[in-house]
Every structure is written in C-alpha cells, then in structure tokens.
Amino acid sequence: MPSVLPDGEPVPEDGALPPQALAGAAARPLGFYLHVPYCATRCGYCDFNTYTASELRGSGGALASRDNYADVLVDEIRLARKVLGDDPRHAATVFVGGGTPTLLPAADLVRMLGAIRDEFGLAADAEITTEANPESVDPAYLAELRAGGFTRMSFGMQSARQHVLRVLDRTHTPGRPEACVAEARAAGFEHVNLDLIYGTPGESDDDWRASLDAAIGAGPDHVSAYALIVEEGTQLARRIRRGEVPMTDDDEHADRYLIADERLSAAGFRWYEVSNWATAEAGRCRHNELYWTGADWWGAGPGAHSHVGGVRWWNVKHPGAYAQALAESRSPGAGREVLVAEDRRVERILLELRLSAGCPLDLLTEAGAKAAVRAVGEGLLEPAAHEAGRAVLTLRGRLLADAVVRDLTD
C-alpha cells in the first residue's frame, strides 16, 4: 500500500456501509487483502506503508508490535463480518501483502487466513497468495503455508544482478529468488510469481535481460515487471537529488519494457495487464483482477484500501492507531468516498484499458470515442478490437497508456 492516503469523508465508527453498497453483491466476487506493515529494513526506493522495528519503537507502543499483529488483524476480519451482515459470499481470493508478510511466523499468516475461512468461508477454488521476500522463507516455512491453505507465492526478486540489488537496498543474494521458486514448487505451490523492477540507476539493458532470463529460467507461471518509480520522500529520491545516483530515464524504461515483453513472450508468457504477464489464464493473479474489474474486496490492516459496491475506504496508516481503533471496537477506517456514476465510468476506463481485454467502447463519451479513433490512427489502439467495439492497447499504446486514458476519458 502506498503511504499517502487520499482525502475523503469520514467512515462511521461502526464501519457501516451505505445500504446501496450491498445491493446486488451476490453477483460480484469478494476478495480479501491483508496488509502486513513490517519490514526488516527499509529499501531506499520504497514508499509503501511499512515500518521497521526501529521506526516503530517509541511510537505506538505494544499495540503496534508485530507479535500480536495477527490477532489485531483477525479483529478487523470479525468487524468485516458485522459490516457485511448476511452477505452470503465466500472469499474468492485472499492476498497477503506488505511490507513483508513473511516476517511474521507462517502460523500467523495461516491464522489470519483461518479467520476468513471461519467468518466467510473460502470458495472451493479460492486463490490464496502471499508476498514473500526471498531471504525470509525456507522450505519448512513454505510447506507450513501450503499446508495452511495458501495456493500462490509472490516473491520480490526485483533483479538478478548484485549491483542492482545493492542500489535497491535488497538484502537477498542473486540466485535466491530462483531457489525460492523451486522450493515453492517442491512445497506444492501451483502458482508462483516473481516481481521484477527495471530501470534502476546503473542497470544496463543486458543486466535487465539477465534478470528476465533468470526469472524465466526459474519457472514461475507469472511475472510482474515494474518500472522503478522514484517516489518523493524516499532515500532514493534524496540520493538522486544529491547526485549520488543518476535519475531514471523514461526512454530507457520504454526500451526495457519492450525487452521484457519480447523475452517474456518468447518464453510463452502473455501480457494480461500492462505490468503483468502469465503463462496461461490459470496463472493470472485473480486477486489483482478483482481490483481492475471493479469487484468487491475488503482490505484489512493499516492503510489498506477496500471497495464494496461503489464505496471505497481506507484505513488509518499507523499500526498503533490501527490497533487502537480495533481495541476500542471502532472501525479503523480513516476516510471513504462514495463513487458517483461518472467516477465509476472513469475508473472503468482507467483500469480496464490497462488489461489485454481492454474496455468496451460504449463506456466512452462522444469526445472519448473520437479520441479512440485518433488513437487507432496513431497506432496506440488495436484496429481489430476497435472494430469489435473494444479499446485494446497496442504494444506502443501500453507504453503511453496514461496518455490514452486521458484522451479516452474526455
């Protein structure tokens, strides 16, 4: 979760949703995101809502401690049950993210998942993912997760190059993420993802190719590749400002993206979202697809975002404040927004256009439709899909997706 929260209206003390949010809910899938806001050390580029032990010391006290975090989070799942009332849905997906979820004992993650199973039930084919830092797991840990019901592992590999990992402040050694994939396979995980970052200062095209090859060689069924974003307020941003490392370059990012798409495609991966590739339909991250298709999910944990039936809300950021609210049986919600029809239309274009399935042209206004025709002319949208009534990005269009979204939402 990024660290800055939006502005919005307050969330009621009991977390109650406006009645219209649950109308027709049964037809939509329901997912859970569980945030674990702890890391052993903070990577210089990272602005996610996560805390190291020393950052927490002195603020939030015992409440914020990761020792009893699983219990606190379970409290929120129980709150979710109350808020959603007699909503009959089982959880279709669960995604544990961070931070570093695997900084907690595997039993804690399993206990959190258990709470969802108890309160909501899990769909028979539920996708249960956790993120993991490569240095934080071993075969026993993975086996415990698998036995506890997890079905998918997502490892933060980032790069195969030592010098790149160093700039990123990653603590694992090259080779470790690939070993993680093997260990996860051995533990019985059918789905494994590797996260990669490209465009790190000092990374060459060849470094990037090596990272891709290493990732592909490890045999995951899913790869996410993100361009390094220099977020304000991070250590990396400071180092760049001081001239210690060069600024990332958008043209280089474009080159790297093309390299990624080429290598991954050649290895049998197919893009299904701008930054995500999978070997088959079954390898896609269904949880992320919930985000992108306007489904419902409950985000539990500090700073986590939720969406149910057109209501978006987000929790207080600090683990101490979060635990405090739940200890007092209050909703940890910090703010929310109730989307109006136009917001939802814009969001649909914004999110769906990034998918390989694209978005239906009938979402567009007259001006947006004209922009779509121009975008086809400029080679940014696929002509055949356009013929068939959908806006689907071409390879070049994916690199300019935000510009296309701006035009199509006119």
Binding site: M1, P2, V4, P6, G8, Y33, G97, D195, S224, A225, Y226, A227, I229, D250, D251, H253, A254, Y257, V274, S275, Y291, W297, G299, A304, H305, S306, H307, R312, W314, E337, D343, V346, E347, L350, L351, E378, L380, R398, L399, L400, A401, D402, A403, V405, R406, T409
Partner: protein, 621 residues
C-alpha cells in the same frame, strides 16, 4: 490690490503679479514628493496632523513604486519671509518624472514660468534631471537650482553645486541647499521662487484661453481637468469649448486645489486650477488642448497640442480565455483616465482572444499591466513588446505594423523603425561599457560631455526597438547601478529588418514572431528555438521547432516523441489515488494551449515571452 499677510488673494480675483507658477524637476528618488510635502506644510495648506508622506502621490501603485504618474497642481499662499510684497500665490505643479510621460511633462512645464531643479546632493545630476531640464529650457522657464538631502552624511554640496552651476550657467553660490526631510532651507526656497520666477503675463480682457495640462478620471466626479488660464477669465456655470474638437460642455464646477478641491467663482489670468464638466472620459478633455468659452470664445488655440502617440505595443491575453470580457472592461476603465492608452481586439492562434495595446513606453506598459493584474485581478500573458514599423512595398503600398505577425509578405522596398535620442549619465569609468552596449544595440554616438571631472553625459541615437526589452537592466548591471538613462523619440530610420517566425511542427506560432535586425535574426532564432525545446513537453510524436525568415529555416531543434507515459508500479487497491492522479493530469492538460496539434503549456509562453530579447542578458545573472 494691496495684500496684507492676513488677506490671501482669492481665485479669480488674484493679481497676476502675485502669482508664481512653478514645477519641480528631479530625477526619480531625488526627493520631489518629499519636498512637495514640506511645501504643503510650510504654507499651511496641510496641517501636521493630516500630513502623510508623499501626500500628492495618490494612486497605490505610485506609492508602492515611489513614482508619480499623474501630475497635480496645488495653490500655496506664501508671504515671503522678509515681509516684502504681501501674500503671493504659488501654484506648484507636480510633473511626472518618467520618460514615458514626456509629453505630459512638457505640458506641465508649459503651464509654468519657472522650475525648481532639484538634485540629490549625494547623487548629483542624473539623466532624467537633464532630460527634463532641457525641456524646461525649451519652454523658457526660469530655473531655480536646488540641492536636496543636505542632511545626508554622504552629501557633497560643494561638488554638485559646481556641477549644477556649470550645467545651467549660474554661480555655485546661487544653488540653494535644502533638506526636504528636515525642512531646512525650504522657506528660503519659496522666497527664491517669489523673487526669481516671473509672474504670468496674459491679456485679462481677451477671450478666455486656458491650457489643459492634466486630466484625471475620478469615479465620483467624472473627469477632473487641470488648467492654466493664459488669457481672459473662466467663470463658473459657463459653457466652454474644447478647441481641438469643438465639443462644448457645461462648467459644473471650477476651483483650485489646496490640495483638496475647493470650488471658486472662476479663474483669471495666470491662475491654475481644476474644472469639472461632467465628461466621463479623459479623451474628451485632452492634455494640451485649449479651452475657451462657448460664446465670444477665442479663435486661435494655444500652441503645442499633440495627440499622445503610442510607441510600444504588446499583445495582452487573459491566461484563462473566459476572462476576455473582464479584460475588455478593465481596459475600458483604465482608458477613462489615460488618453494615451490605446487598444484593439486581436486574435492569436496561440493565445486566443486578447488585445493589442499601445503604450507610451515601457514604464507605461508595466504600470498598466500591473494595474490590470492587481486592481482587476486578471492573470495575463503579455507578448514581447514591439515598436511600430512602417513598411514600404515595391508596389508603393505602405503598411503600419504594430504586431510582428502582421509584417507583410512579398516584395518590400524599405522598412522604417522609430529611433530615440538617448542620454546616459554615468561615472567616467563606465564609458567603455556603455559605448559597447549602445554599439551592440545599433546605436550611433551623437556626442559626449563631461559634467564634471568624473561624470559624463553620453548621447546616442538608438532604435527604440533595441531599448524596449532589457536595455535599462543591462545598462544598470554594466555600470553597477550608477548610470541613468533618458530618451526621447526623434523620428524614424530605414533599417535592414526582417521578420523571424517560429514554427512548431510546421505551424507558425504568431505570438513568437519578431522583427529583428537582419544581423540579429539568427541569434534570436537560435535562442528561442533552444528555449522552446526545453519548455515544450514531449508529445506522442516528434515535434520540430524551427525559426524561419520567410521560407528559409535559420534554426531547428526537435522535441523527441515521448515513448513512455504510463505508471507501472503496483498500487494494489488504491484506486482512488489513480483516479485523483488522472484528474490532476487532466487539469494539467486543460492548461495546455493547442498550437496546431502540439500541446504547449501556458508556462512555456510566459517563460519565452518574459525573457529579454538579447543574448547579453546573461550578464545580469
């Protein structure tokens, strides 16, 4: 009529022999307004309780910039300290100090018989002092030389008395020494005005003739017109006639200022005062015009009337196109008080709807722009100021060009540009730097005179176009602030001028077209094109930026096509953030102006247009 100290002569019944009409000539900041304050106090027209600094500088903007834009006239009764001659009437006319307002200065001077030449005793003579002094001499005014600020430790009264005496040909001992701040010497100065400045002479029983030397719009009273009666008498409730237009008006009120308006029965020979006719626009009551009575009026106007002529033009555009009506209204309002302000609607492909506005000079432009922004709350883009060109075509046709983008195509035989006579005063050590600057600006040396051992007056003929941008800033930086500048238009010259166009993706950007000397066209083109390359964001396609003279490209840069415009990072479920980001980007897109198919941020226009036109501006930094 014998006057006693207790009997102050009344307007319309004042013996001209007791009247002294004078003004104060000073370089900016030499203390004219402060001296006027002391005179108001000493003559008792403003008591100490009411006194505030620079009483006569009314407009906020004047107070802030410490400049005087509009002249005023104040009637001051003064009994000379030696008791001689009874109470006199001193009419003090506060002239505008800046070069842009030369014509108004000249009319104010024409209303006087004498002038106080006020010089800062720590600074000495400056260019504006000189320029106005020459004007005063042309008007045959008696000059009373005065050194001000003698209270300052840095004052050098000996040295500058000498300098002043040399300049006007008097004895150094005749130079008065005052401190406008403390008041020292101001009574002696008033005595000297009575002694030296001639009384006005006119024909009392002739048809009335009065010269307008100022005209000010007041939202309560309408236009207040300041006049100096030359012959005859103006009486209240009479009908008057403006001799330049023949328009007649009812005299609703006539009076004098002390310094507030005080109605009177009329004004007689030599008197100075105001009148109100109910007109709402200063252009109906123009500076320099002659007023006479409607019945049995004069047939010959007083000499010297000129229509104010704009010298510098700039396109003013509202940043937000929907403010266009507000801009028009604001200009209409300002024009009520400013006969020299002219404007016409114009449309720019790049900037939208706006006005081409004519100004007397750069200060005038600055002041108007600032008033539009401050008093009317408008955000404006102003195109680079340009002068007026006269273009003769080979087929004999003639074009007057006030907007560079309208420079004619086709066979041109001759282009004329306005020139000025510029006077620069500076310490002698800067002669080299000043001459280099003027030479760079296509100047030709007219002459050079030493005012004293270490100060020199340098005169140049310069194209006005060469000084409208950053000449003064450059001059200041090259002379560490010691040089002063004044200039007056002296006509036109034929020159080798060309129009440089800037093309974005093949489309001309009218707002960036400029007329430059042939030899400077290349430098202008290269500089602008480089600047734009930095300012124009990359687009989905490659954008060539070219500078061209006609069809010939003289400079070229390219903004490479953008290749990546997508956020590729995992933000999980924070969709609100994504939408907000999109909304912000769309806001940014709205602030773009489309030039053909290229999106140009408004800031780019502002950045390019606000830069000076010459490479040597680097010296400033």
């Amino acid at each position: 009529m014998p006057a006693t100290p207790s009997s102050v002569p009344e307007p319309s019944r004042t013996d001209p022999a007791l009247i002294r009409n004078f003004c104060i000539i000073a370089h900016i900041d030499h203390g004219k307004s402060t001296l006027a304050d002391r005179m108001l106090q000493l003559t008792g027209v403003v008591d100490a309780r009411q006194m505030r600094a620079q009483y006569l500088d009314r407009m906020d903007i004047e107070r802030e910039r410490g400049i005087t834009i509009k002249s005023q006239a104040v009637r001051l009764p003064w009994q000379p300290t030696d008791g001689s001659g009874g109470t006199h009437i001193l009419n003090m006319i506060d002239t505008p100090g800046h070069v842009d307002f030369t014509y108004e200065v000249s009319r104010s001077l024409a209303a006087c018989e004498g002038t106080v030449l006020l010089v800062d005793a720590a600074q000495g003579i400056e260019a504006q002092t000189l320029a106005n002094l020459y004007l005063a001499m042309e008007n045959d005014l008696t000059i009373v030389p005065v050194l001000n600020k003698i209270d300052l430790p840095a004052a050098q009264p000996e040295k500058f008395s000498e300098e002043l005496a040399n300049l006007i040909g008097c004895d150094p001992d005749d130079v008065l020494r005052v401190s406008a701040k403390t008041g020292v010497g101001v009574d002696a100065l008033l005595d000297r005005v009575v002694r030296d400045v001639p009384a006005p002479v006119g024909v009392a029983d002739a048809p009335a003739r009065a010269m307008i030397f100022d005209s000010v719009y007041d939202s309560y009273r309408g236009v207040v017109t300041y006049v100096r009666v030359v012959d005859g008498q103006l009486t209240k409730r009479e009908r008057i006639r403006m001799m330049s237009t023949g328009a007649t008006h009812e005299l609703l009120e006539i009076g004098t200022n002390s310094p507030e308006m005080l109605p009177a029965d009329g004004l007689g020979v030599g008197e100075v005062g105001y009148l109100i006719t109910g007109v709402k626009d200063v252009r109906q009551s123009k500076v320099g015009d002659t007023i006479t009575t409607q019945s049995a009026g004069a047939t010959d106007a007083l000499g010297g009337y000129k229509d104010p002529k704009p010298m510098v033009f700039s396109g003013l555009y509202p940043l937000d196109g929907s403010d266009y009506p507000e801009l028009r209204e604001a200009l209409d309002k300002l024009q009520l008080n400013d006969a020299a302000l002219v404007y016409e609607p114009e449309t720019s492909a790049a900037l939208g709807f706006g006005f081409r506005v004519g100004f007397l000079g750069l200060l005038h432009l600055d002041v108007i722009r600032e008033r539009l922004e401050r008093e009317f709350g408008l955000d404006l883009i102003a195109t680079a100021p340009n002068v007026v060109y006269r273009v003769l075509m080979e087929d004999g046709a003639e074009h007057v060009v006030t907007n560079p983008s309208e420079f004619p195509e086709g066979k041109i035989s001759e282009v004329y540009e306005p020139v000025v006579r510029a006077t620069v005063l500076a310490p002698t050590e800067f002669i080299g730097a000043i001459m280099e600057l003027c030479q760079n600006r296509r100047g030709s040396l007219l002459g050079m005179d030493y005012l004293s051992e270490d100060r020199v007056e340098i005169r140049y003929t310069l194209p006005l176009a060469e000084i409208v941008f950053d000449f003064f800033d450059n001059l200041k930086s090259k002379t560490r602030g010691y040089a002063s500048l004044d200039y007056e238009p002296t006509g036109e010259q034929s020159a080798d001028l060309v129009k440089v166009d800037i093309l974005l993706h093949g489309d001309k950007v009218d707002a960036f077209s400029a007329i430059t000397h042939k030899e400077k066209a290349y430098a202008y083109g290269v500089r602008l094109v480089a600047k734009l390359r930095e300012l124009i964001p990359r687009q989905n396609f490659e954008v060539p930026i070219q500078a061209a003279i006609g069809a010939r490209v003289i400079a070229r840069e390219t903004v490479r096509a953008i290749r990546k415009d997508v956020l590729a990072k995992c933000y999980g479920g924070d969709i609100s953030r994504k939408r907000k980001l999109l909304e912000k980007q769309k806001e940014g897109k709205k602030r773009m102006k489309m030039v053909g198919s290229v999106e140009v941020p408004q800031e780019a226009f502002i950045a390019v247009l606000s830069t000076d036109s010459d490479g040597d501006s680097k010296a400033k930094k």
